[in-house]
């Protein structure tokens, strides 16, 4: 008896894996001007490719199928870098998460942001992913968002019709949604450096070291003569967007920085969030854990004052 061996279908390289990219036309603008022109021309039909760690995953999973992909490859140097401008730190949109982690002024001047980038993905993801991509993707779990919120960050958007600066608090409008127009790109992120007598920190609770947050929180507090003078608190993965926790902030200002104050502030933050049940956690858990989480992150921020 003979077996007939089927030669099998000819291997199409782009179908060799189960997660393949849908087809698109690649555009690689060579200058910032050209980038803005193609973004203005193709608008919603085009997606910007920075590190691709969100975009290409979404395309492979067919959540997004843009007709055009605009690579930042040739304009990277113009869009990357970390510099100081007065009391602000300016970070180019295409700056790699890993370069934020390795920059020692971030550890000193925005420790909450340092805490966040070092827990994002693995080293490969941080070698690819950018801060602009983290914000542009607009996940409620975006780890750079809570630290940037407590450091009073704003986002500079650019288009052929000019620039505008949007406070980060007004930037996100829902899961995956922002105030960015289809012709706009994120140019840079500006945040306030830590002032004297202030400390900041970020923590996240996740299933594994590698996972997206079930819930995360950042805090920035300034203490003078044993009293909290200024407080900013922000929470991730507990509302449709990363949010400021104003009730927690109100519960802190004017009080002594004690564990009791911090726990009360944590409980107050329950008024600021609207958590849901999803694949990573439940609303019930998030409501409970926010109090001890804020206690811990405030304690960590306090410990950094003056160091």
């Amino acid at each position: 008896m003979t077996f007939k061996v089927s030669p099998g279908p000819k291997l199409d390289i782009n179908k060799a894996n189960t997660h393949i990219l849908p087809p698109f036309t690649l555009i690689e603008p060579g200058s910032l001007k050209e980038l803005l022109e193609v973004k203005a021309k193709y608008g919603e039909k085009a997606a910007i490719l920075a590190g691709g760690t969100d975009l290409l995953v979404k395309m492979k999973l067919r959540i997004l199928e843009p007709e055009y992909v605009i690579s930042l490859k040739k304009v990277r140097s113009e869009l990357s870098g970390i510099r100081r401008e007065g009391d602000e730190i300016v970070i180019g949109a295409a700056t790699l998460l890993r370069d934020i982690e390795l920059n020692d002024s971030i550890m000193r001047l925005a420790p909450a942001l340092f805490d966040a980038v070092i827990v994002m993905g693995g080293v490969q993801i941080r070698n690819m992913g950018t801060i602009g991509g983290n914000l542009g993707n607009a996940s409620p779990a975006a780890d750079t968002a809570p630290p940037l919120l407590v450091h009073s960050a704003s986002v500079k958007l650019l288009s052929t019709s000019g620039e505008r600066i949007v406070p980060l608090e007004e930037f996100f409008t829902g899961p995956g949604r922002t105030v960015m127009r289809p012709d706009e790109i994120i140019y840079e992120v500006r945040l306030k450096a830590l002032g004297k007598g202030c400390g900041s920190a970020f923590m996240k609770i996740a299933r594994t070291a590698f996972d997206l947050a079930k819930i995360s929180a950042a805090a920035m507090i300034c203490v003078e003569d044993g009293v909290i003078k200024e407080a900013k608190v922000a929470v991730g993965s507990a509302a449709p967007t990363p949010v400021r926790a104003r009730s927690a902030e109100d519960a802190l200002v004017g009080k002594a920085p004690t564990p009791e104050t911090f726990l009360e502030a944590g409980k107050a933050a329950r008024n600021d969030i609207s958590p849901i049940d999803d694949v990573r956690s439940t609303a019930w858990y998030r409501r409970r854990v926010i109090a001890p989480l804020l206690h811990d992150v405030l304690q960590k921020a306090l410990g950094r004052i003056g160091v």
């Binding site: 782009n14 894996n17 690649l26 490859k73 080293v123 490969q124």
Partner: protein
């Protein structure tokens, strides 16, 4: 649509025609004879496709081939050969850090990036650095041991 892309692969210049939507992992495996980088998950979760681009560990399953134009790509084939294994590769073999082996090239490349940045990592630093690489066989213990041993040998302490 497609285009030609030129880059350095394991020290040698290559020029290859790729589709716009072609990922580096596929170009390496199906056009350039590289078999070390593996397709595990395809969506950034497992690290089996890790290669070095300009010395940094990245995921070739989430990199468009066009993005490495003009860059240096290093895979396990370029690190060492079966006749002349790199110290890290030898350490993986000697410490039984390999069971099925599917994850191994990814770990080896991540370890190569680590030891270049930090020649004397602590166990904790090793574990931290390899957290984006999954192994479903070994339980990581021997992988960590192998990387620490390779670090010692490379820095002349062994």
């Amino acid at each position: 649509m497609g285009r030609f892309v030129s880059f350095t692969l394991n020290g040698k210049p290559v020029r290859v025609y790729v589709e716009d939507n072609e990922i580096l992992l596929n170009t390496l495996r199906y056009k350039l004879g590289i078999k070390s980088a593996k397709y595990g998950c395809g969506i950034g979760e497992c690290g089996a496709c890790t290669v070095l681009v300009d010395g940094r560990a990245v995921l070739s399953c989430l990199t468009l081939t066009t993005e490495v134009e003009g860059k240096e790509v290093l895979t396990a084939e370029g690190l060492g050969t079966p006749e002349r294994l790199h110290t890290i590769q030898k350490a993986f073999a000697e410490h039984a850090a390999v069971q099925c082996g599917y994850c191994t090239p990814g770990f080896v490349m991540t370890a190569a990036a680590l030891l270049k940045e930090n020649p004397n990592p602590s166990e904790e630093e090793v574990r931290e650095y390899i957290r984006g690489n999954y192994c479903r066989c070994t339980g990581y213990y021997n992988i960590v041991k192998a990387i620490l041993a390779a670090a010692k040998e490379l820095s002349g302490e062994a």
